[in-house]
């Protein structure tokens, strides 16, 4: 795996393409807190030479811009559209930046860890019930990964 500076993303991908890695296997994002890590796996599928390379770059949340690689890799059009709407990233120079799967005017990017899923708010957590009868703990159990003030019937 190679970590590439964000400003060199397009040139590095262009270089890989020229090097024979012309097949884009996947391009996606990973929430790393203050950055979104964009990851791409490219494959050289020429006869007798199957090899793959994984490259990543960090895109800061405060300035979520990255160059689109769709000109060299047409398959990146869908991958970048999806990554854009799931992680709130803008792919500069993308030929067709329409949302792919979701309405971006409704709520935040679903694959960011800071985004709480709507179903978590409207569904009562099954763990709330006092299963351990007789032994009431003073601390009410809370579901993991859901802010307390988001909870159905929460205290906030």
């Amino acid at each position: 795996m190679r970590v590439i500076d964000r400003t060199d993303w397009l040139s590095a991908m262009t270089e890989l393409h020229a090097d024979g890695f012309s097949y884009l296997d996947v391009l996606t994002g990973l929430d790393r807190g203050s950055d979104v890590e964009v990851l791409a796996r490219v494959v050289d599928v020429s006869a007798g030479r199957l090899r793959a390379e994984v490259v990543t770059t960090l895109v800061p949340r405060v300035d979520p811009h990255l160059s689109s690689v769709a000109a060299g890799y047409p398959a990146a059009v869908w991958h970048e559209r999806e990554t854009a709407e799931m992680f709130d990233i803008v792919f500069d120079g993308h030929p067709d930046p329409r949302p792919l799967l979701r309405r971006t005017d409704l709520g935040a990017a679903p694959l960011l860890k800071s985004t709480v899923l709507a179903a978590r708010v409207v569904t009562p957590w099954p763990g709330t019930s006092e299963g351990e009868s007789g032994r009431r703990s003073t601390r009410r159990p809370q579901p993991l990964g859901v802010p307390a003030n988001w909870l159905h019937g929460g205290d906030a």
């Binding site: 569904t123 957590w125 099954p126 763990g127 019930s129 299963g131 351990e132 009868s133 007789g134 032994r135 159990p141 579901p143 993991l144």
Partner: protein, 108 residues
């Protein structure tokens, strides 16, 4: 190694209604109800309070087969069973209650 998943079976006699599986489940697909009963044992000074399982259900319409419940159960009351054929005609048919979950345990 990747293995196909089957179904998660419940061994009701081993379940102590501790709620750990319910609270660890990322899909929130397990529900559990229990009540306390006092059991007097000969020779004991005071009656013991035990949890009695009233209802246990897994909603297979929500379950993502991560197996966390099987891993975290301190009493091995949940286990993988090989069955895969439990499709249903409606949503409610995917909710397996205590007796259905107990029926998945392979019998010799």
């Amino acid at each position: 190694m990747t293995t196909p998943h089957g179904v998660i079976a419940l061994i009701p006699e081993s379940c102590t209604s501790c709620m750990i599986c319910v609270r660890e489940c990322p899909s929130w697909c397990i529900t559990l109800d229990s009540h306390a009963e006092e059991v007097s044992e000969p020779g004991a000074r005071r009656p013991r309070t035990v949890s009695v399982l009233d209802h246990f259900a897994i909603d297979y319409g929500l379950c993502m087969y991560c197996g966390i419940c099987v891993d975290v159960c301190p009493f091995d009351a949940l286990e993988w069973a090989p069955d895969v054929d439990y499709s249903a005609r409606d949503r409610a048919g995917l909710v397996h209650d205590t007796s259905r979950l107990a029926g998945w345990i392979p019998h010799e």
